[in-house]
Amino acid sequence: MAFSVGVVLFGIGLVAIAIRRDLVIKLLALGLTNAGSILCLVAVGDRPDARVPICAVCRDAIYADPLPQALVLSAIVINFAILALALVFVMRLVEQYHSTDSRHIEDLVQRDLDARGGP
C-alpha cells in the first residue's frame, strides 16, 4: 500500500513538472517526486504488524527494518539541498528575465544566445 502510494506520488510530481509552466510549482513538484521515492524506500522496510526498531534485544517480535529508514534520512537531506539550490537559481532567473514561466524563459535564453553568437 505505502509503496504504491509512493509510486503514485512520484507520478503526480512528474505530470506536474511536465505540464505546469511556473517554475516555483515545478520545484514543488520535484520535491513531491523525491518524497514519493522516499516513501517507497520507507515502505519496503515495514509491515503493518511490525514495531519501531528501538530495542536492546530484538528477537521476540517483528521489527521494521532500520536500514531503509537510515538511508531515507540521507535522501531527505539531499532533497532539501536540491530544492534550496534550485530555488536560488530561479531567483536569479527572475532577477534577469522577470518571469517564472519556463517556456518564456526558454525563448528569452535562446534569443540571448542567438544575439550573442551562442555561448
Binding site: V5, I12, A35, D46, P48, A64, V72, L73, F80
Partner: protein
Amino acid sequence: MIARTALLALLPIVAVIALTQRRRLTAIIGMGLFSFLLAVSYLLLHAPDVALTEATIGLGLITAIYVLAIRRTGRLTIVADEAPGLFVREGDRIVGLEHEILARFARHLGLDLSVQFVPHRDVADLVRSGEADVGAGGWVPGEEAGVFATRPHLDTALFTVGGAEGEAGEGVPRVRYEGYFADLDPKSLYTAETPVTLDLARFLAVRRSDVPDGSVTRHPQPRGYAFVVNERRRDLHSALDAYIERLREDGELDRLTRRFLA
C-alpha cells in the same frame, strides 16, 4: 491500520490539490500540509526518526525558504506582458512609459517595484487572485470581472488583423491577442484563419516588420490604455488614479509620453 490506510490515501489527493493551485503561496502551503501528513504517515509506518526529519526539513525548512522567497512585504508587484514603448525588457532592465509611471508610483508609496512578465491573458487572472498588485503592459480595459481598471493614461485604438479581406469588422468574432508579446509572429498573424485583434502598440510593432499588408480594420471607437487592480484593493486603485491624475495635471505625463513614444 484504518488510520494508516486513510492517511496514505489522503496523500495523493492533497498533493494534486496543492499542485493545481494557481497561487504560488497556496501551493506552497498545500505542500507544507502534505509534508505534515507525510510525517504522520512515517510515524504510522514505524519510522519515528524519518518522521522527525521529514517534519523538521520537509515541513519546516523547505516551506520556510519557499515562503520567504515569494513573500513580498514592502513590494509593489506588477504583472505585465511586454508592450513596445510602454513596458519592454532591454537586457535586464525594463523601460517604457507604463513602467516609468509605476516606478514613480512605487517610490511615492515607499515600496520596491517587482515586475513579472506573464502572457497577456494571465494579467487579469493574476491580479484577480491577489498574486499581483497591479496589471500592466498595454492593457485595454474590456469587461473583465473581478478587476478594476484605472482611468486611461494614454489613448489608443484597436486593430483587427488577418482573415479574409473585408471580413473583419462588426459581427466578426474579435479574438484578442492573448500570448506573450515575445511570441507575436507577424507572418502567422497575417496568414491566420481567424482575425486577431491588437492594440496600437503591438500593431505598430507588427506593422514595422516587412510583411505584406493583409486585411486590417481599425476599430472606430476610441480606447485607452489603463492599469488593472484587484476589486478588493480600492485603496490602491484610488491612490493610483490620483497619482496619474497628478502627473497629468503638472504636464509630466505628456513629457513622459513624448520621451518614450516619440
